[in-house]
Symmetry: D2
Subunit: 343 residues, 4 copies
């Protein structure tokens, strides 16, 4: 921590500030400067907390140097990136993870047909919403447990692990019985009660970045889960909100390599939600992989005009097939694989 | 709804689009234009939903005209703004509501002292967090039920109704037993499970705008509560996230009059969180009132250096006293009152 | 400047960093810390510049403490705010400045009628665009020198000084012959050639904040003008671009008090452009004044349906009259005046 | 254009609105609806302009359907993308353009060395700033004409065409004498005087997107140049300003495919400025190409610690060599080339 002093800070004020630092068990270091001086604070092992410090006369600004999360940090694993086993895939490994499926599950037959097709083109997990967060209370909210059962049936036939969202603790209890990966949506990224609950759940968690979350906030949200003992967190960049009006959200591709430099957790991308329209999904998918994403989660629907949510951004079978081929090409340029072998 | 056609749209495509509109029980109206034509969709009583419509060949763009919420809208009350009785105050009336208190309750004595002082300067409700949403999992998370008891004790002595936050359904059960108004924080504005739960609760709800919520999303969040039968919702503008780095958030004063023109619900402002620093709180409070806010909710602490959260933005007693006097002056310019009489 | 070191920084790397600091004529100060150490850089009188420093092995992050502008800073005037004499008004004084007029001047008679009316309600300067920045190249671009002559005629009759925009050096030469204050628009806030040119002009400059400018960038733009010898700069907050879609721009009221704490220059506000629609102009004007603005510049048109630009946000005579009355009320709550006496 | 009516609109008001539309030479079409009705406006060949229309009683909202630029639109070329010949390269063709060079030219020898190296790895043009836009007035502002001469010398030896920035008309006169492509910086994207001036210049223009420009504003800026007769415009996405703090700007990869769907002009990307730090440049370059960019413009410096501006984001020779190889790989996945053959 660095405490920048006002030009007008008196010796008495500087002494008082130093005393408070010492009281907190930390070490003050006075730095003289031509125009403005500062006090360094050292001795802390985590983030230094001296609550009253910004209050004291003579203090201009307090600058934090140490990052406020511990378990999520790459330094904590000495630079080694983690890999989580999900079905046959190792997420975070040299092979980028390939997850696809409908936005919401709407029909058991169509879901099965989708799962079979995805399996055939190398997908490694099946996504599908049984509980759907919807902006408008009168919009379709998902089939609930029935939808979870359809997902389980699709897994039984194809072997694809299931990724599905829970929005509260009651849903979580059910989701845990059917799913292989719990998804936490962007709107719940700072739902701390839910973060703690999934932190105690026995399944990996796919945590989506909030629409307006800084990377520090994103990693703090992950830290909530890790701190409860569940270490299998997968981060997902899915677009942020900006002034831009030409896509639904702005896919922040830079977040991918920056996150990889800050945390050992795998970082995947969702190109469907920022696109908002089908024709943008593949370009964004390619961009995310090229930026170094450890995987993609893509919305697919055999016949988007029957989709009960987000049909306009769902890829058709032919679209996702082409995307997978291009994704393999881009991954191979980066010296890695994408998904399982197509059959 | 207006469906804008591509220049290249064929007669067959236009027929197919019209057929789909009719199938959905709505009425298509073909609009010829020199450069580009369109089809109007009428006959809907809410938002028109024709899921497949953006999919059809020949369609360039779909423009929605009807707003997707009903109960929150000002048209629904024929232009009459609602007033809710909370303690002795009528929120939404010609007297702006005055709520103040500590960010988190940290000590029963200090809380009582604060409540007494606030009562003496005309405050009409006491805010204070027993459960605190914190970005970092290792930060102080609130005193929980003990804190709620301290709040109840302060109410018993001063008569000030209690405004306090619940972050999940379990906390909500407790909060309902102690509080007079349930606060829903910005990070939970789109926590739909919680919105539905407070929609069934027997208390008024203070709903804070999300950091990145459009006014449509904000009103849809209110609609979730209203749709469950709880009509006593109070909206609160508390700053949005922008590129600006000179304040914690950007207080969006324009949201206040625009919301008042869209909804019958009262609209108050929180100047403390967007300020992030004490010296900005009063200017923002004045600005919000001058823009037409129906009330203010302000963070106060008798000795901010002991505050367990957000101490740097908490006003001292003398500060809030001055703020209340200026607020009265500004309210009176607008022909209205602010808070109860000072004693 | 503070140079934060990587945990892995070696003694040799720290020595090399220190050597570079010394080579730049500055003083390194090594700060040992439990988890991470840092080097302080002192001895600089302006912003410390050590170009290669972020390149060196062992360096994690470089934190600048000293602000990069000098002449604009409030410290430079030892906390005294500047006042500029413009016509009969002292801008930056205890009386908030009242400027109004049409977006673009479109007719000499209507302009004269407007100027007379504004004078009668206490306006202290007349704004009006002869050269108009327009997003679309085919939109009306202003009457040019003819417009400047109409403005000068209005001044001749009413005594109101003229505020008008120049968008390039050629226009500036003309504007200087007719105007009393040169306006620099938001889109030109970082047009450095133009900033330097107005820095040599013999007139005060009203500098509008760019749509996406941080306060540091805004003050640096002012510094460009000051550095050329023209010290009479007036800053103007006019709304920033955010994700919000309910107003044209987001008026950033917090910028007003923060700027006042950083610079000695007067800070006014333009409520018309962020409003974008007539009904929002007065609430935003009240909010800006309540936040401490040193003045308002407002768009007015006797008959907005004839306005050649921005008619939907222009106030009518009755509207601006009411605004001026309310502005006086709010200013008086803050212990200050607004505009000249109404006649 | 669609004029949405208020529920309360009377028959008289609707008649008056229709009359105004007819007066403007356009055709009104009344659309009855169950809850709200609208009037369509047709007959316009460009953007319909009925200035007073938003003023009329009974009007709720006006929705524009036709886009306000003409020459830039892809419809204008019937879907054919334009290609511009620059040196040996065809910009906008199936081979992505490869431009690189120092941020600012700082030394003739180093520039020559850089140009030779870039030529050897397949670069097709040399970028370098002789005039530099700098936020701070006291920062290095470029070597001016001397720098242009160094660039010309580098071209003479390597054959690489020169891309360099002009910030005002005086600089433009010089730049035109030395350069092959005029660069217009992000801060000048809405400097309309400069746009018009380059519209009359005899060279292609590389137009950078403003930090906060919507795609409509970006295309309107291009339209300013096209409308003056210079059709050789190349658009460049270079990152937008958002709340994100982990990179200098947020590279908006979605803008690339969306622009390609709206305009016939080539669209390239600058990965260096949004990165702000060396390690992010290659991931962003890969992402932009994967999203469909028609080229890259990258900052390179043989020894970044001597760079007079933006040294921390300049790639070294080995870095750009690797980037070019990966870029070729990604381009080939998309069925296209990147740059000239390496020698």
């Amino acid at each position: 921590m660095l405490i920048v002093l006002k030009n007008s800070a008196t010796d008495e004020q500087i002494e008082e500030i130093s005393r408070r630092i010492s009281d907190a068990g930390l070490t003050p270091g006075i730095v003289p400067g031509a125009r403005r001086s500062a006090i360094t604070v050292t001795g802390n092992t985590g983030v230094a907390v001296i609550p009253e410090i910004t209050e004291l006369p003579g203090v201009l600004r307090v600058i934090h140097v140490t990052r406020p999360y511990r378990l999520a940090t790459l330094e904590g694993t000495e630079g080694k990136h983690s890999e989580w086993q999900i079905g046959d895939a190792r997420v975070g490994s040299n092979t980028a993870w390939f997850v696809a499926g409908p936005c919401s599950v709407d029909d058991p037959e169509r879901l099965l047909e989708t799962a079979r097709f995805l399996k055939s083109i190398g997908a490694q997990a099946l996504r599908g919403g049984a509980y759907k967060p919807r902006t408008n209370p009168y919009a379709f909210q998902g089939y609930g447990e029935e939808g979870l059962q359809w997902l389980a049936a699709a897994r039984a036939e194809t072997g694809l692990p299931i990724v599905t969202e829970a929005m509260d603790e009651k849903q979580l209890e059910q989701v845990v019985q059917y799913a292989d990966v719990i998804q936490l949506g962007a709107r719940n990224m700072q739902n701390y009660s839910l973060l703690k609950a999934v932190g105690k759940a026995p399944l990996p968690v796919l945590l989506k970045r909030g629409l307006t979350a800084t990377l520090d906030e994103f990693l703090n949200a992950a830290e909530y889960i890790l701190a409860e003992g569940n270490e299998q967190v997968i981060l997902c960049e899915r677009g942020i909100r900006t002034f831009g009006d030409h896509a639904r959200f702005t896919l922040d591709v830079a977040a991918i390599p920056v996150l990889k430099s800050l945390t050992h957790l795998p970082v995947i991308a969702d190109p469907s939600h920022p696109a908002g329209t089908r024709s943008l999904v593949e370009p964004l998918a390619r961009a995310a992989l090229a930026a170094g994403a450890d995987g993609l989660i893509v919305e697919v629907h055999p016949d988007p005009k029957y989709a009960l949510s987000d049909g306009q951004q769902a890829l058709r079978f032919a679209d996702i097939d082409l995307l997978a081929q291009r994704a393999r090409g881009i991954a191979s340029v980066m010296g890695r694989g994408f998904g399982a072998a197509a059959t």
